[in-house]
């Protein structure tokens, strides 16, 4: 039997890769993908917990997360499209209107 | 004394709802906006008259009281009521609002409906401040008043309005925040209650009293404004539109002094007693400083603003003299100052509408061109310098009497303020109305019927209070006596309580 910690460790590593990807990439598409990565990492740990605790609630959570992820991807990409239309930019260093 | 409607709530919320109603009127229909603002303010005034007529002058208790639970879990109540100290201010507020509406009739041309809505909102909040018997409610009204006032200065003001508005806002906000801290401390100290009446009978330990006294002082002293927190006033007055100046001078700055009477003294009597000499010294500085600085002014509104500093110095001097004449004189002088300075600002607004200049040096010889206006201005000038027979005299005399009884030196120094007052007001009058006619004054019409009607009520009050002040003084008798007893006996009660505890 694989210990629970292994799953969580895997999940943590992928999560951090997602975080790092979000932080260091300039391309907004990749950043959105990094978010998906993070969500999936969380999903993995939730499913693992669900399995080990013999409780389906974790999986229900995953179900919701997938829903939200889908919605998020849709909206995020829609924003990206309209951003691209307006500014022809997909790199974060080109979008610095919030500079103080 | 049964009145069929909750009079205080009506007087507070009628203008507020009226303001919302005005916002719904179509922007282009300015006539309707003005007339409905006038109607609302007049109706409010008429509804507030029962306060004057059926007020029971024999008791110091809160009258026309209304109490409802509001947020019971936090001990917040919706409690209103007036006593002899506050009732006159309610009436003054409702009266001055009408005059503000009429004086702005032609001078406000931009964002008309927002202007009148703001004016009515201020009225509601002002009355609310004077009526609240729940500290939480009080604070809400206190702050609520700030926003429309800020807008009044910042939107309809003169060229430097934004600076003035922000200065006004920051000053008062800083003071208010300190008071908020004080309110929270009081709330905890009174057993989770915001009930002002309950606080008035609670004795707090002296150290706490002292801290709270200063916390509340910060809020009120800025409003008054006491020296040296006065520098926002000239800017705010100078930049505000006429109605804004009138409200500011007439009511808003009275709230500071009212706060002293309603909170600082009955809630922290021992601290008030201990701090009274310091307060009186600050007051006398304000009187003299505010007076002398007037002589160096070149701007009409600024001069009157600084004269307010001087006059409010008299008010606080009287209040902190802690004797009957002083406090009654102080309250009366607040009313007087509201009338006189309010009227002076109305007058200034009227001539500004014609000449569009506030520089004193641009004027001269206006008495020839605008004789009726000059006559009105003269009466208010005389009232301002405290000529017997006008209201200014009664207030100032009682204050100096009270101040002199409390401290001879300070009384004498305060009396010099009367000389200075005569000097700067007559200097102003001469520059504006006498001598050769200035080019900017030439060719203007004298004030019309609307403007005369705006000033007449104030003229009547000037002489009414001057000749028969007892109408107004009798309102305060019981409440002031009660207040003085509270201040004087608080120390005794505390010692007695400690003695009892020791025996236990």
């Amino acid at each position: 039997m694989v210990p629970l910690e292994w799953y969580i460790g895997l999940s943590a590593v992928i999560f951090i890769i997602g975080v790092a990807g979000f932080m260091i990439r300039k391309n907004i598409i990749i950043m959105l993908m990094s978010i998906e990565l993070m969500l999936n990492a969380v999903n993995i740990s939730l499913v693992a917990f669900s399995h080990y605790l013999q409780d389906l609630r974790g999986q229900v959570m995953v179900f919701f997360i997938i829903t939200v992820a889908a919605a998020e991807a849709a909206i995020g990409l829609a924003i990206l499209v309209s951003l691209f239309k307006n500014k022809a930019a997909v790199h974060t260093d080109e979008i610095i209107e919030m500079k103080g | 004394m049964q009145i069929g409607y909750p009079i205080l709530s009506t007087v507070i919320f009628l203008p507020i709802f009226g303001a919302l109603l005005i916002l719904l009127i179509k922007r282009t229909n300015e006539g309707l906006v003005k007339w409905s603002a006038l109607l609302i303010s007049v109706v409010t005034f008429i509804l507030s008259i029962p306060l004057f007529v059926s007020f029971d002058k024999t008791t110091a208790a809160m009258q026309f009281a209304e109490t409802r639970d509001w947020v019971p879990s936090w001990g917040i109540k919706y409690a209103l009521g007036v006593d002899g100290i506050s009732v006159l201010f309610v009436l003054l507020s409702t009266l001055l609002t009408i005059l503000c509406v009429t004086v702005s009739w032609n001078s406000i041309k931009d964002k008309v409906k927002e202007f009148y809505a703001a004016l009515l909102l201020i009225e509601g909040a002002m009355v609310g401040v004077f009526c609240s018997l729940d500290l939480f409610l009080f604070y809400i009204f206190w702050e609520a008043m700030l926003i429309p006032m800020y807008l009044l200065i910042g939107v309809w003001g003169g060229p430097n309005r934004v600076y003035a508005a922000i200065k006004f806002f920051l000053y008062t906000l800083v003071g208010s925040l300190l008071m908020l801290v004080g309110i929270i401390v009081l709330y905890l100290g009174t057993g989770m209650s915001f009930d002002i009446l309950k606080m008035m009978t609670t004795n707090y330990p002296y150290d706490i009293q002292l801290i709270l006294f200063w916390a509340f002082f910060a809020a009120f002293a800025v409003k008054v404004p006491m020296w040296p927190m006065h520098t926002w006033l000239p800017d705010a007055h100078t930049e505000a539109p006429t109605a804004g100046s009138v409200i500011l001078a007439g009511i808003l700055i009275k709230m500071g002094a009212y706060g002293f009477l309603r909170f600082n003294m009955p809630l922290f009597p021992e601290a008030a007693k201990a701090m009274a000499p310091a307060m009186m010294i600050l007051s006398v500085i304000a009187i003299i400083y505010g007076g002398i600085i007037c002589l160096g002014q070149t701007d009409l509104k600024r001069l009157i603003a600084y004269s307010s500093v001087s006059h409010m110095g008299f008010v606080t001097l009287g209040i902190f003299a802690l004797n009957t004449q002083g406090i009654q004189g102080g309250i009366l002088q607040m009313i007087n100052h509201g009338i006189i300075t309010g009227a002076l600002f109305l007058c200034v607004g009227m001539i500004y509408d014609r000449t569009h200049t506030r520089q004193i040096s641009d004027y001269g010889g206006a008495a020839t061109i605008l004789p009726i206006y000059a006559a009105f201005f003269m009466v208010f000038t005389l009232a301002s310098i405290g000529l017997p027979g006008t209201n200014g005299f009664v207030g100032e005399f009682l204050i100096i009497l009270g101040g002199f009884a409390a401290s001879k030196i300070l009384g004498v120094l305060a009396a010099t303020g009367i000389i200075i007052g005569a000097a700067y007001m007559l200097w102003l009058y001469q520059k504006m109305f006498f001598m050769e006619t200035g080019s900017k004054v030439q060719g203007h019409n004298d004030i019309d019927a609307r403007e005369i009607l705006t000033l007449v009520p104030l003229i009547i009050l000037v002489f009414w209070i001057g000749i028969y002040p007892n109408t107004f003084l009798s309102f305060m008798d019981a409440s002031v006596q009660n207040l003085i007893n509270r201040v004087n006996e608080a120390g005794l009660a505390q010692t007695a309580q400690q003695a009892v505890e020791v025996i236990k």
Binding site: - | A405, I419, A423
Partner: protein, 641 residues
């Protein structure tokens, strides 16, 4: 409601009617309302006087004016012997001045306004003298000051007039400052402001002292001197005399009524009214006597060299007021009021005569440019001459009796009395000199003005000469009620005043009184004689003297530089402080500096903080991650323990 209330109320009504309707409806008929009102007041005043004469004293309250705690003041009237005589003086002079003004002010743009102010003044003055308490006195006191302000500045387009009005008001405020504090002290010490109660209780303060800045000051002396401060201001005594000569900017009838006959005498009236207080303080009495004597001499010397006819008369007023204070200071209140009463007539006459001259000269005031007016305006000349003789103290005329009474009583009042008597006698000589200087320069000799002026010369209309003649009768006969016993009279007026003002009992022999009388008569005649030599016989003498004693002459000509001194030590420093210290430094730099400094520091910090806001998405993400890291670390540390 009874008739006494009407005495002040009638003029007040006239004022209200004229000021409200005068501009549109009444216009040129304004004088009717005003004159009728004053006439009514005069009639009632006479009837009140007769009642007082029969021994009745009227004292009652009308209503409660101010009630605050234990402080209670009413509006009420007290008519005793002192008030009664004042009522007669005020209403009669006022009536005559009203009538005179119909002619004098004819055609002026502010005709209705002028009569409205006159009515208001009459009302205020009556309130002042009739009040039965100090605060009402104070009310009248300030109100007459206000009317004086209005009337001095009546021709407000003229800068000098507007300045003079303002100066009068503010200088008076200095006196009122002391007076007001005196009122407050009296209330605090005695618990009341009503005359009867004050005089009843004042004895209890005797011997009490009050500590002021470490000095023990006798309480009664302090109160008396504070009250006297007010009198000094109102009656233009040194050092607050500066406003009265300037007040001549007003129309001449005003100068006659306010600045000669009535308002300026309010100070004397007040000191006399409070004689029970003054009597208790030797120091205060001496101060009053010496102030009066010094002012009297001081003003008389200035009057010697002035050329403006109204200013000479004004300085003569200051001088005569000094006389009245001199009398009060030596305890001769009755004599002081007697002089007040006679002075009202002959001084009003002098002013109205001067007005008549001005009327003829089209506003010219310089006596050096007049001359020989006698033949053009005989009524004016003769009445003016009578007034001058009266003021100089020629026996038989009003001025003689009152002046003589004062000098005689002063002479009998110890050392201080002797000093002030000597000064008073000197003043008598000077008075005669400068009064006749006007006569000789203006009415005798040849005309020195321009041709147009000479062409314009005419006697004044009836409305103006009538009052002159009536006043001339007063200037002659008013004194006959006070003929001293030494001259076979009964000195009726002194006895009339005795219940209120007391009467110093002089035991000296009649011979001594003849001597004093003789000296003052000699002084007066000597003054007239010298004046005749100087200005009629050998006009080159005064010019030579002016050159020879140039420094003295210029000092006198510039009125001892008092105005300049005040300007230098009070007006300028205050204005300088206002603009250069308070506006520029304290408010502008220090307070504003602190006030603006704090927000500026915050803004500065904010400016720097803003740099953190790069707008770069990843920077926010990085800081978020940093935050997560920090919080997690903290949580783990907290849990680990």
């Amino acid at each position: 409601m009874d008739k006494y209330v009407l005495i002040p109320l009638l003029p007040l009504t006239a004022f209200v009617i004229n000021i409200i309707f005068g501009k549109w409806i009444i216009k040129e008929k304004a004088h009717w309302i005003a004159i009728l009102a004053v006439l009514g007041s005069f009639a009632i005043a006479v009837s009140a006087f007769l009642e007082v004469l029969s021994g009745k004293v009227i004292n009652y309250d009308v209503y409660n004016w101010i009630v605050s705690g234990n402080f209670k003041v009413t509006v009420g009237f007290l008519i005793d012997q002192l008030t009664a005589i004042m009522l007669i003086v005020v209403t009669s002079v006022s009536l005559l001045v009203h009538i005179y003004s119909v002619g004098y002010m004819h055609g002026d743009g502010g005709y209705y306004r002028f009569f409205a102010y006159l009515s208001l003044f009459t009302f205020s003055m009556l309130m002042l003298v009739m009040g039965n308490n100090l605060l009402q006195l104070y009310f009248g006191w300030e109100a007459v000051g206000l009317c004086s302000y209005f009337l001095i500045g009546f021709w407000y387009e003229k800068k000098s007039a507007a300045d003079a009005g303002k100066k009068a008001f503010i200088v008076n405020r200095f006196g009122d400052f002391g007076f007001g504090i005196g009122v407050i002290m009296i209330f605090l010490m005695l618990g009341s402001l009503h005359y009867t109660e004050i005089f009843g209780k004042i004895g209890t303060l005797q011997g009490q002292a009050i500590n002021i800045l470490g000095y023990n000051v006798d309480l009664i002396t302090l109160i008396a001197l504070l009250l006297f401060c007010g009198a000094v201001g109102k009656s233009a005594q040194i050092p607050l005399h500066v406003w009265l000569p300037d007040a001549m900017e007003g129309p001449t009838p005003v100068s006659a009524l306010i600045h000669a006959a009535t308002m300026v005498t309010a100070g004397v009236f007040m000191v006399a009214r409070f004689n029970p207080i003054f009597n208790l303080s030797e120091t205060a009495m001496n101060v009053v006597a010496l102030t009066g004597a010094i002012t009297s001499l001081f003003a008389a010397t200035i009057a010697l060299v002035q050329n403006d006819i109204k200013r000479i008369v004004a300085y003569s007023t200051v001088s005569q007021l000094g006389y009245m204070f001199l009398a009060c200071g030596v305890g001769a209140y009755g004599a002081g009021i007697f002089h007040l009463y006679t002075h009202a007539y002959f001084k009003a006459l002098l002013f109205l005569g001067a007005g008549s001259v001005m009327h003829a000269m089209a506003g010219e005031l310089d006596i050096q440019k007049m001359g020989g007016l006698k033949k053009y305006m005989p009524v004016t000349y003769w009445t003016f001459l009578i007034a001058s003789l009266s003021i100089a103290g020629i026996p038989g005329l009003a001025g003689f009796f009152s002046k003589d009474e004062i000098l005689w009583l002063a002479y009998n009042h110890g050392t201080v009395g002797k000093i002030v008597w000597a000064m008073g006698t000197a003043v008598a000589a000077l008075t005669a000199f400068y009064s006749f200087r006007i006569i000789f320069l203006a009415f005798h000799g040849t005309f020195r003005g321009t041709h147009e002026q000479e062409h314009h010369l005419h006697e004044s209309p009836k409305a103006m000469t009538m009052p002159l003649m009536i006043l001339a009768v007063g200037a002659v006969a008013a004194g006959w009620v006070g003929i001293p016993a030494a001259l076979g009279g009964s000195n009726a007026i002194a006895h009339f005043f005795e219940p209120v003002l007391g009467h110093p009992h002089v035991t000296a022999a009649h011979e001594e009184e003849y001597m004093v009388m003789g000296i003052s008569i000699a002084a007066a005649i000597g003054g007239i004689f010298v004046s005749w030599i100087f200005y009629s016989l050998k006009p080159e003498i005064p010019k030579n003297l002016a050159v020879k004693f140039k420094s003295i002459y210029t000092t006198l000509w510039n009125k001892y530089y008092v105005d300049e001194l005040y300007d230098f030590i009070i007006v300028r420093p205050v204005k300088w402080t206002a603009t250069n210290i308070l506006v520029a430094v304290t408010d502008g730099k220090i307070i504003e500096g602190i006030v603006n400094g704090v927000p500026a520091a915050i803004r500065n910090f904010g400016e720097r903080l803003r740099k953190l806001q790069t707008g770069y998405l990843q920077h926010y993400a990085l800081s978020m991650a940093l935050g997560v890291f920090v919080i997690l670390t903290l949580v783990l540390i907290a849990k680990g323990r």
